[in-house]
């Protein structure tokens, strides 16, 4: 038997005038690191790092399920709504969670759509954070698929979503973690993955904001897996090049969900990224 050090609780916060019951987990102590999951998934993607003593001995990792995801409920009246995430709502959600949990300038680590919003926050609200780790993140990704595939009355959107995103998982990923990663997509609520992708594939507002990011105040480090078809190394490197002072590392044997699909392969890259999150301090490339 083993009991993990991760603890989970709920916080009800008001986001854009609506009460949202948010599930969050945390582990460790020290510098706070707020972790954002990908589209169509939840905090479970971060569980390996939250169980990693080398990370948590001097970092307090906090992850939360976005409304509609994981153990966070959708808002009251959801049954009559079409869920479509927007940049504005996503930013409001992250800031509201920071405030509710009393997080003082946490490092923000986000993957995929979480990485995208991390870069938006780096441009729009840098004073709220100590640095940004943008994983599988880029300025903009138009869809190479039809997002409506994932919300149909005649098919299982979760099964289709999982089968599609499996294209982004590295063949080096251990089978058990590949399937644990896909399970979250299989179990995602109806229309939720589609609603996340609406934000991810249609809002290109970040492109014009990258130049305003000041990495001398808040470091930005991008991490990208070579097997990521959705945000390719070229996409991440192009994005990093547009942010003065940003750094980018390509992870040869990883895909789009590195912390979840291949935790052992990802941990050295994440530990290195954390070490870079010190403004004004030179860090070896």
């Amino acid at each position: 038997m083993s009991i993990e050090p991760i603890t989970g609780r709920y916080a009800t916060v008001e986001i854009e005038g609506r009460a949202q019951r948010i599930y969050f987990e945390e582990a460790g102590s020290g510098r706070p690191v707020l972790c954002l999951h990908t589209a169509g998934a939840d905090t479970r993607q971060w569980r390996h790092l939250m169980n990693d003593a080398a990370v948590t001995r001097d970092h307090r990792l906090i992850a939360f399920d976005m409304p509609w995801h994981g153990k966070s409920l959708p808002p009251q009246g959801f049954e009559r709504e079409e869920y479509l995430l927007t940049t504005e709502t996503y930013i409001a959600t992250v800031l509201a969670v920071c405030e509710a949990l009393g997080l003082e300038r946490p490092i923000l680590a986000g993957c995929s759509m979480g990485g995208r919003i991390a870069l938006q926050l780096a441009a729009l609200h840098p004073e709220r954070f100590a640095g940004f780790i943008a994983i599988e993140a880029s300025d903009f990704q138009p869809a190479w698929y039809d997002i409506d595939w994932f919300d149909r009355p005649d098919a299982h959107g979760g099964q289709m979503g999982a089968a599609l995103v499996s294209a982004n998982i590295s063949p080096y990923a251990p089978d058990a973690e590949r399937w644990n990663t896909l399970w979250m997509f299989m179990a995602s609520g109806p229309g939720v993955f589609r609603g996340d992708l609406s934000f991810y594939t249609r809002d290109d507002s970040l492109i014009g904001r990258l130049a305003r990011i000041d990495t001398s105040q808040t470091p930005v480090h991008l991490l990208v897996g070579a097997y990521d078809l959705t945000c390719t190394p070229e996409d991440a490197e192009r994005t990093a090049a547009a942010i003065h002072g940003a750094t980018c590392t390509v992870m040869d044997e990883l895909g789009h969900f590195p912390m979840s699909e291949h935790p052992e392969g990802f941990r050295p890259f994440f530990i290195d990224a954390l070490a870079r999150m010190t403004a004004g301090k030179e860090v070896a490339a």
Binding site: W144, Q159, M160, S166, P171, L229
Partner: protein
């Protein structure tokens, strides 16, 4: 989709394969994989696999591959078609393909495959079909 496209350096050393023999081996492997047949239990369609100029019509019935019909043919109706080239398919079937060659949609993205026809039919059965296609993959060395 054309030979000489992205990634040829990655596949140049891979030995020639007999595609038809490989598909027959996949047919047998599918029959030995009950969870996959179950996943495909609503899939009774014909799929065209085109490798360079060679055509293979794969007739599925309730998740089983019941017949492999070499082409060319203008008479056989198909639900969707996967069109690729032999070098790309060889790279896809290696144990640990290089990026892009590791997935059907990866081949499409790097312009080494094309999907024609009723793509929704494919997407509704995507896990089944991708796992079937990967039955041709070599084992990762121990």
């Amino acid at each position: 989709m054309a030979a000489g496209g992205k990634g040829d350096h990655a596949v140049g050393l891979i030995k020639e394969i007999d595609v038809l023999e490989r598909i027959k081996a996949m047919q047998q492997a599918l029959a030995r994989t009950p969870h996959l047949v179950r996943l495909g239990r609503l899939f009774s369609e014909t799929v065209l696999l085109q490798v360079d100029e060679a055509e293979y019509y794969l007739h599925f019935d309730k998740g089983e591959l019941v017949a492999i019909e070499p082409g060319p043919s203008r008479k056989i109706a198909w639900c969707f078609a996967i069109r690729t080239d032999a070098a790309a398919l060889r790279a896809y079937w290696t144990a640990r393909p290089t990026p892009g060659f590791h997935d059907l949609f990866g081949l499409v993205k790097i312009d080494r495959a094309r999907i024609d026809g009723d793509i929704l039919c494919l997407v509704k059965n995507l896990r089944f079909f991708k796992e079937f296609l990967s039955l041709g993959r070599e084992e990762v060395p121990a």
